[in-house]
Symmetry: C2
Subunit: 203 residues, 2 copies
DNA sequence: AGTCATTTGTGACTACAATCAATATTGTAG
DNA sequence: CTACAATATTGATTGTAGTCACAAATGACT
């Protein structure tokens, strides 16, 4: 049992209430229409207190998604079907994020946008992303072991490339360029296939 | 000579004054510290009038960069050295954008962030991006003609992949992950090389 | 030129994110 | 238990982006 001071416990409870209040209001009324005053009220804290816990209104969205992203990453690997090709594995893994963001596209836009250059949260977010990348790298190494991938390949570079391709398609999709199904199926799959195949002639 | 009404001329002059005023103030004081009131004053218009020309303060940044991006794209292809390998050509082309954004990194961050999901400006911006992608595709086809690239390859898919890789490295760089030189040289080059080489074993 | 309709411009006003000086709560040492 | 320091909380206040009811400018038509 971890010894925890009253202060520590109060702080954690407040943060939890803030996260819960923000989630609820964003769901009900959307990000724009939710005021920080309303979040503070629902979380039963003063308007000023809110900003001791988050740097700005946008950070509330990061707070809301943090948990969901954690769960999505975990579930993605747990439910990953066996015996897929590398391409199918990668498509499956990233598809889970599309499904998460599909639950509330307006909010997902705010999240992706704020995540880009947000100071305070970048550390936490990149911890999650790095964990995901490492897990992916493991899968690619397995594909290498069974001969799907060449020996000399820089795995961590390839991993980052796959993530970059996913990210570009995610943002196009969130901009309304195409449907969820299209995003995953022709677009993500083709982009990954192109990365896997490369451009060189088969000498 | 295009016949132009007085209305049309007034509007264009005002827009030009707004663009100029915004650029000057963003340079001098940065984005945050510049008020829309100050922009309106310098452009010699009412505070309300500003918002007939741009939807919000962020759109001023898009306005400021629009011209610069146009010129950067044009210059990139004009100054592209002859007889480079495909990889060197691509690195050269994208490097020009890094140099543009390097002139004012804070402002570049705002630009890249706002561009993501901005309604009104997406059309204009994607016109520019599509033009750039087409020019790139032409270069890749030339590489294909000289045997650097395999015949069956989906060129427009590959083109979009290169852009996605550039974009990911651009945003990492703007987040302060590494220096300008590092961004272009190890990072962009390696990412592009990985896309060109692919992952498959050379049978 | 004079009348009217349509487009463009204006700045006082509103709403709200974020701040900060004042207050309350919790921890600690005697 | 008391006194005091350290930390956390508060809501009135502020600065500013963006709105809107009204005013001015422009163009079209007779």
């Amino acid at each position: 049992m971890v010894q925890q001071s009253l202060r520590e416990r109060n702080k954690q409870e407040k943060l939890a209430r803030i996260q819960q209040a923000a989630r609820q209001l964003f769901e009900e009324k959307g990000f724009e229409a939710t005021t920080t005053y309303a979040v503070a009220e629902l979380a039963q804290i003063g308007t000023g207190t809110l900003f001791l816990y988050v740097k700005d209104k946008q950070e509330l969205v990061l707070l809301v998604y943090h948990q969901a992203i954690e769960e999505t990453i975990e579930q993605a690997f747990v439910t990953l079907p066996a015996d897929l090709t590398l391409l199918d594995e990668l498509v499956y893994l990233f598809e889970q994020f599309f499904r998460l963001y599909n639950q509330n596209i307006e909010l997902a836009r705010v999240y992706i946008k704020e995540l880009l250059f947000h100071e305070g949260y970048r550390a936490q977010a990149s911890r999650q992303i790095n964990y995901f990348l490492e897990q992916m790298a493991t899968r690619i190494k397995e594909a290498q072991a069974r001969g799907e991938v060449a020996q000399g390949v820089d795995i961590s570079q390839a991993t980052r490339n796959f993530f970059a391709l996913y990210y570009a398609i995610l943002t196009s999709w969130l901009s309304g360029a195409f449907s969820l199904e299209e995003a995953v199926n022709p677009h993500l799959r083709r982009a990954f296939a192109s990365q896997i195949n490369g451009l060189l002639p088969r000498s």
